[in-house]
């Protein structure tokens, strides 16, 4: 029995190691293709590594560079955005994103007024802070309930914690549902037009250059309804844009 368990564990370890080695090979090969200026091939290999599970900011950044060199600004911007979604403090991805946007004349969603306050904090930081404050609140309430006599300091701490917790939850909600949240998507197709209805013949709302930001509001079949730059809304083909968060 023990021998069988050990064998299974070793086999699983070997499989994981083989997979890791394969993805590492893909990335190394992609780097070689990139150095040889075979940019579409490099992009395909980076993408293969990502599909195999190697998801980190560095690979998305490299993939963005490969697409930029291959002339696909939409895909480049999408992957820079993905790198920044995984590591918001990624100066190279941010710099290249600016360059790609300028080059593609991509449109950006209009920042909301609270973005200035919450954009510097990541959802993970919000989550940790909210959980910490929640437990401070829970302990303060419990201590206040068991205090032998009135404890105004504990009560004040509980009220302050509740206030901070509310702000953190509201901030997290605003961040997640805002322009840089889970519904942020990037237009990757050329000549994308947002329309007033789900038909190619419907009136045009806005022409979106590749790399433009949209926020997906709903989907209907092969169409997505999205908030667009310039505070507009419209329908665009589902295949013309991809969500930043996978």
């Amino acid at each position: 029995m023990k021998f069988r368990t050990l064998t299974c564990a070793l086999l699983a370890l070997a499989a994981v190691s083989a997979l890791h080695a394969e993805t590492a090979d893909n990335v190394a090969q992609a780097n070689q293709e990139y150095q040889a200026e075979h940019f579409p091939e490099a992009a395909a290999l980076y993408q293969k590594a990502i599909d195999a599970g190697t998801r980190n900011a560095a690979v998305f950044y490299d993939l963005g560079n490969a697409w930029f060199r291959a002339g696909d600004a939409g895909q480049a911007i999408l992957n820079y955005e993905r790198a920044l979604a995984l590591r918001p403090q990624h100066p190279e991805a941010r710099a290249n994103l600016h360059v790609a946007r300028d080059k593609a004349r991509a449109l950006e969603l209009r920042p909301q007024w609270w973005d200035e306050f919450i954009a510097r904090i990541t959802p993970n930081q919000f989550s940790i802070a909210a959980a910490s404050v929640f437990w401070v609140l829970a302990f303060a309430v419990a201590a206040w309930l068991f205090a032998p006599r009135r404890a105004p300091l504990l009560l004040a701490l509980a009220l302050l914690s509740a206030l901070v917790l509310g702000s953190l939850v509201a901030g997290l909600y605003a961040l997640e549902t805002g322009n840089n949240g889970r519904d942020l998507a990037i237009v990757i197709a050329a000549k994308t037009e947002a329309r007033v209805a789900t038909a190619d013949s419907a009136g045009s709302v806005l022409v979106l250059p590749p790399g433009s930001e949209i926020r997906i509001l709903s989907t209907r079949g092969d169409w997505i309804y999205a908030a667009l730059p310039n505070d507009l809304r419209g329908w665009l083909p589902a295949l013309s844009a991809q969500r930043v968060r996978l």
Partner: protein, 619 residues
């Protein structure tokens, strides 16, 4: 008070524990959709009802668009149902659906936002037959089969011109006159303008006046709107159609005044009086009224429009402003551009910089202030934020192109350059994002030849940061490990609460013990004061009282207290200590010897001394 707080804490703990295990207790919401009739005639209205069950605040479909069908919102109703103390609610969204042409239509699944969850209606089909052979205007019993619409009123559609360009906004006035003797109950589904190849603006609220035409008094309802041709060629606009519900005299129930001439009531005054709908037996009927269609010759826009032409047709003027006038490179500068005039403002986009080299432009925001009631005249203001990538002395002109139907040509408006002073940057046009943030490539080979100067808008190179860390796009709060980690403080909180509960219980036991000792001490002292028992009992009670007092003072077990312990507890002087020892000795002697081996009597003075000793023991 402590116990009640403890109970509250227990309840909180139970709620906290149950909150994690039962995230969703409510029933799943669902949606149904039905058409009142799956077959109808062109122009005939059927009702679409979308019923959402089990959702607290569902949002209706934002937009329903099917080519050949017109949808109009007809209201929302909410129903509540209670069964075995379970309250369920449903919301019904009603729409009036009118086919504008014959054919087989499919209404696709519509998305309903039910509290964050998207529900989809089933796909519905509607078969619209041609209007020919129609016998009535609705399926209701109220028909106008026997009512002459011309006796009830009229509708007319007024177009100011018969030739227009694609995209041009043409104001339309629709006048509905209803005979004042046929009071209007409702306007049914409102005014419809049938036809294809043009779009219609939202209609204004009707303006009501009274007019007398050919000796008849009419209540006039005047509605303004605008149409915009979407294609060139000859378009048939209309007819405008309305199906109001009016009250008309009931058939076969004429007033006596009208039955037979020469009767006693055959008088024009009585005729008028008894035929007044307010007094005559009347019935509500739908009356279908149509205007004459209008023909519009639509010309296509001339070829070769300007590069920045976005489809705006009309007549506009441009006014621009930029602030601040002095700034550093990279600082935001706000450009306010206002386009005033008349035309299709929905196709008016923000004016663009004639030359945007060295400028980074952010998406503009816009506001529209309309001067009329249909939105074809007004001012559209754009606020665009730009930042310069290099030193600049002026803001380039802003340009905006439109087609002027009066001049029959494209017009490009161009603002004057706005003088600015932007300093602090290099004179070259290097992109700040690339130049400021560019670190030295970490994987650049040391022996590589000096790289050729890169284009100014080039990206930073590949990185050598090959971390094997797998990252996820899911935020922490969506990960199971995050919630599992919360078990740690949860158990700590539970332990804290249990500890506090047990402490409270222990404190309670201690209080009870103290109360019991105090009560026993008081009783013993009362017995000593009564002085009605034997010497053996008196000494035993006194010694026991000393033990109890010492136990209370020093929180000791009373049975373990002896004379020395008591003496040190109360800091007695030597004489008192001696008396205390004697008390304990005699008490023990009498208790264990039964009083037969010694003096078993106590004088009154001795008893008073002992009582004083006991009562004066104070910590």
């Amino acid at each position: 008070m402590t116990w009640s707080r403890a109970h509250i804490a227990l309840c909180c703990l139970a709620l906290l524990a149950s909150a994690g295990s039962h995230p969703l207790l409510a029933a799943e919401p669902n949606v149904t959709a039905v058409l009142s009739n799956s077959e109808t005639d062109v122009g005939q209205t059927v009702e679409l009802q979308i019923q959402v069950n089990g959702a607290s605040d569902p949002k209706p479909p934002s937009q329903i668009s099917v080519d050949g069908l017109e949808f109009q919102t007809a209201g929302t109703s909410r129903q509540f149902q209670m069964h075995n103390f379970d309250v369920s609610s449903s919301i019904t969204f009603s729409y009036m659906v009118t086919p504008t042409r014959a054919g087989h239509f499919t209404i696709p699944p519509l998305a309903i936002d039910a509290g964050g969850k998207t529900l989809r209606t089933p796909e519905l089909t509607l078969n619209a037959r041609d209007r020919s052979g129609r016998s009535s205007n609705t399926g209701r019993s109220q028909t106008n089969a026997n009512v002459d619409p011309s006796q009830i009123g009229f509708i007319e559609m007024i177009l100011p011109k018969s030739i227009a360009y694609v995209g041009e906004m043409i104001p339309v006035q629709i006048r509905v006159g209803i005979n004042m003797r046929a009071p209007v109950e409702s306007f049914g589904t409102g005014i419809q303008i049938s036809g294809q190849g043009f779009t219609t603006q939202k209609m204004t609220q009707p303006r009501q006046t009274t007019e007398t035409i050919n000796g008849r008094s009419y209540t006039m309802f005047i509605v303004n709107t605008a149409i915009s041709p979407a294609r060139s060629g000859k378009l048939e606009i209309g007819p405008a159609e309305i199906t109001p519900v009016v009250r008309v005299p009931r058939r076969g129930a004429q007033n006596p005044a009208r039955q037979g001439a020469g009767g006693p009531f055959d008088d024009p005054f009585f005729n008028q009086f008894f035929n007044d709908p307010a007094f005559a037996p009347s019935v509500a009927k739908e009356v279908n009224m149509k205007s004459s269609p209008a023909t519009l010759e639509v010309k296509p826009l001339p070829p070769k429009p300007p590069a920045d032409f976005s489809g705006a047709v009309g007549n506009f003027t441009l006014k621009t402003e930029a602030n601040p006038k002095k700034a550093d490179v990279g600082d935001p500068i706000t450009i306010n551009a206002t386009l005033t005039g008349r035309g299709n403002f929905d196709r008016v986009n923000a004016p663009a910089l004639e030359n945007d080299n060295g400028w980074h432009k952010y998406p503009p925001s816009d506001t529209f202030k309309q001067d009329d009631d249909v939105g074809i005249s007004g001012a559209k203001s754009f606020e665009t934020v730009v930042s310069a990538n290099e030193n600049k002395k002026e803001l380039p002109p802003l340009v905006f192109s439109y087609f002027d139907p009066t001049k029959e040509s494209y017009v490009t408006l161009k603002s004057d350059p706005i003088p600015l002073s932007i300093t602090g940057g290099n004179t070259s046009s290097a992109s700040p994002s690339a130049s400021a943030l560019a670190p030295a490539p970490s994987n650049a080979p040391s022996v590589a030849p000096a790289p050729a100067p890169k284009p100014v808008d080039d990206i930073l190179p590949q990185l050598d940061d090959r971390t094997a860390v797998v990252q996820t796009f899911h935020p922490l709060y969506q990960q199971r490990t995050f919630w599992l980690a919360q078990l740690l403080p949860f158990f700590a909180l539970a332990g804290f609460i249990i500890w506090k509960l047990q402490s409270a219980r222990g404190n309670n036991r201690e209080l009870k013990r103290i109360a019991r000792l105090q009560q026993e001490t008081s009783e013993l002292q009362r017995k000593l004061r009564r002085n009605d028992n034997s010497a053996q009992e008196y000494l035993a009670d006194a010694a026991r009282a000393v033990q109890l007092k010492t136990a209370l003072a020093k929180n000791l077990n009373a049975n373990s207290v002896d004379a020395d312990t008591a003496a040190s507890a109360f800091h007695l002087d030597d004489a008192a200590q001696a008396r205390l020892r004697r008390l304990f000795d005699r008490s023990a002697e009498l208790r264990y010897s039964g009083g037969r081996n010694g003096d078993d009597t106590l004088s009154a003075e001795q008893r008073r001394e002992i009582l004083d000793l006991v009562e004066n023991l104070r910590a």
